[in-house]
């Protein structure tokens, strides 16, 4: 249900300065131009760079645009321009309707005042009148689950409680046409997070939403489409499938390739027709594709070999024990060349690295350890919160016992 266009961005750029002293001087320059009625210059001054460059996009009511990109890609700068906090240096932004931003949760909180008093302050900052707050304050308190502490000064709150209260005020009070979200949905414990997510879903149906996040499962479950920013520019096309954009985002992260020890050498490549190797040596596979490796190992003394599949955050996912007859396989000195089946790539969409470790057989000390021996980019239709995705079938044990269904027509 794509509604009318509420956010329209045309050729928008924004420059920033890397040097503090210059930045302040340019600030004075910009002030003078503003007062003289002149526009900002659209050329870069010394030590300036384009934080956002020639960007176009549109968001309609009922759409949620996920904005992804690595730190410094310009997402937050764009959001600040959309929110009217800073002016674009070129281009034009058109915003239609009431804007809500879940960006600074608990803005204006004063630590000395109680939770209840701060609700009034925070709501006022968000543009609410006192009567509106009076009408909904109980709902806010209930949602925050902080009734027991609501008359306590917020400086006694934990940071999680602060964010909870801030979120509750904004989410319950705001009834925006346009919603900006900047990494705010991870608040508190899981139960509360789910409650927030459900609330946000109900708000999003009638808003045009821009959602900035690094959390890909969240982005893929919330957003109707995704754009990726890199060095201030959109590097995704309108209508490009979400999983492709996310796969490219994942591929852009710097690789973990630390190598330790030169007591052995190991090399590997992924076999198969379904895999594609990109210019940076990363192997792209579709989720579920069987992985088979061709490995070359050179050792100077008897050694064992093992592999671990890691996530980008170096969380070990799968340990591949290279065994023979139930014990670690012994590799004699020399060069070995062999194939190895790792089973299907049941990983969630994202980036993974294969870690190889070669240990001396006698004292198990590490001869060689190589991260990112194979770098894997898994693309998938489905994103999940878990690292491993398996599809399972249902085998009915007896016929379905029917209950009375609700008949709403």
């Amino acid at each position: 249900m794509a509604g009318e266009v509420l956010i329209r961005v045309e050729g928008v750029s924004k420059k920033y300065c890397t040097d503090l002293h210059r930045s302040l001087r340019y600030g004075v320059q910009d002030l003078v131009n503003e007062v003289r009625g002149k526009p900002r210059g659209n050329s870069l001054r010394e030590k300036e760079f384009w934080a956002v460059r020639q960007l176009d996009l549109e968001v309609r009511r009922g759409e949620c645009l996920g904005l992804i990109g690595h730190n410094g890609a310009g997402k937050t700068t764009l959001l600040r321009m959309l929110n009217g906090l800073v002016k674009p240096d070129t281009g034009r932004i058109e915003i239609r309707g009431r804007v809500g931003a879940l960006i600074a949760l608990g803005a204006g909180f004063n630590p000395v005042l109680t939770g209840r008093e701060n609700i009034y302050v925070n709501a006022a900052v968000l543009g609410m009148r006192k009567a509106e707050v009076d009408a909904r304050i109980e709902e806010v308190i209930d949602f925050s689950e902080l009734r027991a502490f609501i008359d306590t000064p917020v400086r006694n709150y934990s940071s999680g409680m602060n964010v909870r209260l801030g979120f509750s005020v904004a989410a319950i009070m705001l009834q925006p046409d346009i919603l900006f979200l900047d990494e705010v949905l991870a608040v508190g414990d899981m139960a509360f997070t789910l409650k927030c997510l459900n609330l946000m879903r109900s708000i999003m149906e009638r808003t045009a939403c821009v959602f900035v996040s690094h959390n890909m499962p969240l982005v893929s479950s919330f957003c109707t489409h995704v754009h990726m920013m890199h060095r201030g520019q959109l590097v995704s096309q309108v209508g490009e499938p979400m999983e492709d954009v996310i796969a490219r985002y994942v591929a852009l992260a710097p690789a973990l390739r630390t190598v330790y020890g030169d007591g052995a050498q190991v090399g590997a490549r992924v076999l198969g027709d379904a895999v594609r190797t990109d210019g940076e040596g990363r192997v792209h596979v579709q989720q579920g594709t069987p992985l088979e490796l061709e490995v070359t190992l050179r050792v100077d003394e008897p050694a064992h070999l093992q592999f671990v599949m890691q996530t980008q955050g170096t969380v070990p996912l799968v340990h591949y024990a290279v065994e023979e007859g139930g014990t670690d396989r012994l590799f004699a000195p020399g060069t070995h060349h062999f194939r190895m089946a790792l089973g299907p790539a049941e990983f969630n969409a994202g980036r993974y690295g294969l870690l190889a470790t070669v240990r001396r057989a006698t004292d198990r000390s590490v001869l060689h350890r190589r991260e990112g021996l194979v770098e894997l980019v898994v693309t998938a239709q489905k994103m999940t919160w878990a690292h491993i995705l398996k599809s399972v079938n249902v085998i009915p044990l007896e016929p379905v016992e029917r209950h009375n269904e609700r008949t709403d027509g």
Binding site: L24, G27, P39, L85, I93, N110, V112, E117, A124, L126
Partner: protein
């Protein structure tokens, strides 16, 4: 969208952001300024109440701080003149009344001058993340300064009476004198905000300049009748403000009434210019503030 219930036919307000200076469309600028001032009132009241409550709750002496500084200044000067360390020319009223009224009025001005920058710096974390009517932080500041001034006067008037000085009906005009001090002070402060938010130097210069200015204004000693200093005093636009306030408090004759009106009117005009400048500057400042 299809016909639905409620919201669909409501006309949506449209905002456009471009790199052009806001001055390119003055009619639109003034209209939004006026509208925002209206929208800012409720929030300003909230913010002022928040700050005052917090200040009051986290301090033992609370509102006493509003006159501790002038009281100390008064005591120092009274002590110096009574021990003969300095010789004060005749002030036409008990000297403690002269100094105390002077420093209390001066303190109102000092607070007004430093208010705009303080408010902007204090609200920085909100300014860089949220879009709310920016005027509200200034209005909140004015409310706080005004309330502090009222509290000061509530203390000052009994002190004046205690020393046997009787104000006349012009005491009712006193709020006007306070308003003039606040308007002139915050106009100067507001004009300094654009530069003061970028460079911290301004924040350091203000207290120093106010200290120097105090001695060029009849705050702790009477106006000299001749000499270079007398010229300074006469040219100083702050002189009529302090003199008028003191006159209305103590029933003394009002010197230079037309000067007072002139300075107050100029202050008002400057305040409007300052507001316009603030409005033009705030996006640039937010950009350079960082988060």
């Amino acid at each position: 969208m299809a016909r639905g219930k409620g919201m669909d036919h409501e006309e949506l307000g449209t905002v456009v952001y471009t790199p052009d200076s806001l001055l390119r469309r003055p009619a639109k600028l003034f209209a939004t300024m006026a509208a925002d001032l209206g929208r800012a009132r409720g929030l300003a009241y909230r913010l002022a109440a928040r700050d005052l409550k917090a200040q009051y709750r986290s301090s033992l002496l609370g509102y006493l701080w509003a006159f501790i500084t002038p009281l100390m200044t008064t005591l120092v000067w009274v002590f110096m003149s009574s021990t003969g360390v300095i010789r004060i020319a005749d002030t036409g009223m008990p000297y403690p009344v002269f100094v105390f009224t002077g420093t209390m009025l001066w303190q109102v001005l000092v607070e007004a001058v430093s208010m705009p920058q303080q408010q902007v710096s204090g609200a920085q974390s909100m300014l860089v993340k949220l879009n709310f009517p920016r005027e509200s932080i200034l209005l909140a500041g004015l409310l706080k300064v005004g309330l502090n001034a009222a509290i000061r006067m509530a203390v000052l008037i009994p002190v004046v009476l205690f020393f046997g000085v009787l104000p006349d009906a012009r005491l009712l005009l006193l709020p006007l004198a306070l308003a003039a001090l606040i308007v002139v002070g915050s106009a100067v402060g507001l004009l300094l905000v654009p530069i003061g938010s970028l460079y911290a130097d301004i924040g350091r210069v203000i207290p120093m300049a106010m200290q120097v200015l105090m001695y060029l204004t009849p705050v702790v000693y009477a106006m000299p009748q001749e000499g270079l200093l007398a010229t300074f005093f006469r040219l100083n636009p702050l002189t009529p403000l302090v003199l008028t306030g003191r006159a209305w408090l103590t029933g003394a004759p009002t010197p230079m009434p037309e000067h007072f009106l002139l300075v107050a009117a100029a202050g008002l005009a400057l305040l409007l210019v300052g507001w316009l400048l603030f409005r033009l500057a705030i996006a640039v400042l937010v950009e350079r503030m960082g988060s």
